[in-house]
């Protein structure tokens, strides 16, 4: 589908390869749909290759990675390197959020590391959901307002 013809912006929602949690994904899908987005939810334990293939096939307007198992900083860094290396996906906004490490309060440096690795924004645990939605909307291409 030609993304210019979309009535609503399309967000691709996914976990990382090792993370089995899904309540975060169920919640974010509802939240994004209520705030005017179409959502493709890839679910849990998404291999890097599948995410890349879905990005190329669906041509989303933004990608949201949500992870809470503590491996997010490792899986996220590997994933964003592969996404950024893919010419087909140049300029695609990609954000990550959740419980990014296993160290609780000691994980405060992980957000800046992930941003430095190529994510457009990082939402550490406890981030405000309105701030998250506002950020997503700010990076989406201008679309015709839907009726």
């Amino acid at each position: 589908m030609n993304e210019l013809a979309r009535p609503r912006p399309l967000v691709l929602l996914s976990s990382v390869s090792s993370d089995s949690h899904t309540w975060n994904l169920v919640f974010l899908q509802l939240l994004l749909e209520e705030t005017g987005h179409d959502v493709v939810n890839l679910g849990a334990c998404v291999p890097d290759e599948l995410l890349l293939a879905e990005c190329a096939a669906q041509r989303p307007d933004a990608v949201v990675i949500s992870t809470v198992n503590g491996h997010g900083h490792v899986d996220g860094r590997r994933l964003i390197a592969r996404l950024r290396a893919d010419e087909r996906l140049a300029g695609l906004p990609v954000v990550i959020g959740g419980k990014l490490g296993v160290g609780g309060g000691r994980d405060s440096g992980l957000a800046s590391e992930l941003a430095a690795a190529g994510f457009d924004a990082v939402f550490a645990e406890g981030s405000d959901v309105r701030g998250f939605v506002g950020y997503i909307d700010s990076v989406l291409p201008a679309l015709e307002p839907s009726s």
Binding site: S17, S18, D19, S20, T22, W23, L25, V26, F27, L28, L30, L31, E34, N41, G43, A44, C45, V46, N69, G70, H71, V74, K99, G101, V102, G103, G104, G105
Partner: protein, 433 residues
Amino acid sequence: MNELAVPSFAGSVRAAAARGEVVVQPRMGFGAPDRMHAGLLATRAARATTVGTITLDSYTRVGDLAALRRAAADGVDLNGYPIVTTDRAVTAAMLADVRTGGFPVQVRHGSAAPELIVDALADLAVDATEGGPVSYCLPYGRVPLNKSVHSWATATHRFASLADRGLTPHLESFGGCLLGQLCPPALLVAMTVLEGMFFRQHGIRSVSLSLAQQTSQVQDLEALRALHLAADRYLSDVDRHVVLYAYMGMYPRTPGGAGGLLADAVRLAVRGGAARLIVKTEAEAYRIPTVAENVAALEHAAAVAADTRPWTAPVPDTGLYTQAVALIERVLDLDDDLGKALIGAFAAGYLDVPYCLHADNAGRARSHVDDEGWLRWSSVGAMPIEPDGTPGHGPVRSADLLAALSYTQRRYDESEESCGELAGRRAPALRPA
């Protein structure tokens, strides 16, 4: 090593039950063998009747051995113990030092393809593990259900063959915990019994059946009663016990609320006849707990258990057991091969886990927390039971879902102590069936 000198997991739980003690068990997994070793020793030394836990890491769970090698090379802190790739001699030495004096260990992993894990357990003479073809598949990833059933059949056969070496291989079904929260307990009871029957079909003679604490102490007590009845009906010829999981969803943030929720889980275990309890800690809302936090939770649980008497008053019957039996019978009708029956049941939607994103789950069932805190079916899809909640009442907006997911957290944080209906000695109010 003389394998028979290691006490069996199942036998230890049975012996504790005979003494009137609930076995308490942490969730615990560390990547480094020395930390895992220290955690097991601390669990053994806790002032409580304990068994040890080795929880495996997420890369082992999904079989990503390349990621494990990279993590080892980069010194990355894993979220569990990588038993498949750790030198067997290192793990064997750790276990030899730990499994003494009647202290058995269970390995927990979450894998839909557990063959390599079970091979490691066989090499190491570990006689207890956990999971199931459905409960370690649908909630946990994207492995197709038919592939998980095939893998679990193979792995269960291999694990069962430990009996040839004089061991008592014990398999716990995680089917009573599907997605941790918001699943009405009749489906949890049905699922764990069906998985127990699957294990038996593949040679296992000692099983445990699980149930996760949900949103209402009274409903949970009814669910435990239903689980015992169903286990007696369908699994009377195998050794069995019931394991209760302290609340698995969004956990209270206050120490008082977290401790109160655990105390209510302990009371539920004692009153509902669960032989074993998986604890949670006060750190649960924030991060993976430390060893010291786990020990504190185990000792708190043991103290509450010592103060709690088994429930002798009538347990309400609102039809939960009848629902569970209807679900089980519908599945058994499909095929004598339980693996095929389970695959067929999910394909037809006769089993349907609410809010589960897996491609092999029908996804038509919905649930909600009613005004009295009971989990109800707002929609049952094609399952052979009647909706018992308000049709269309299921959380459909993100705020409603979050409110249902955080219901228990809020309730216990507001009271900062026990707030189950059974916290006192009052008999539960009987509800109409």
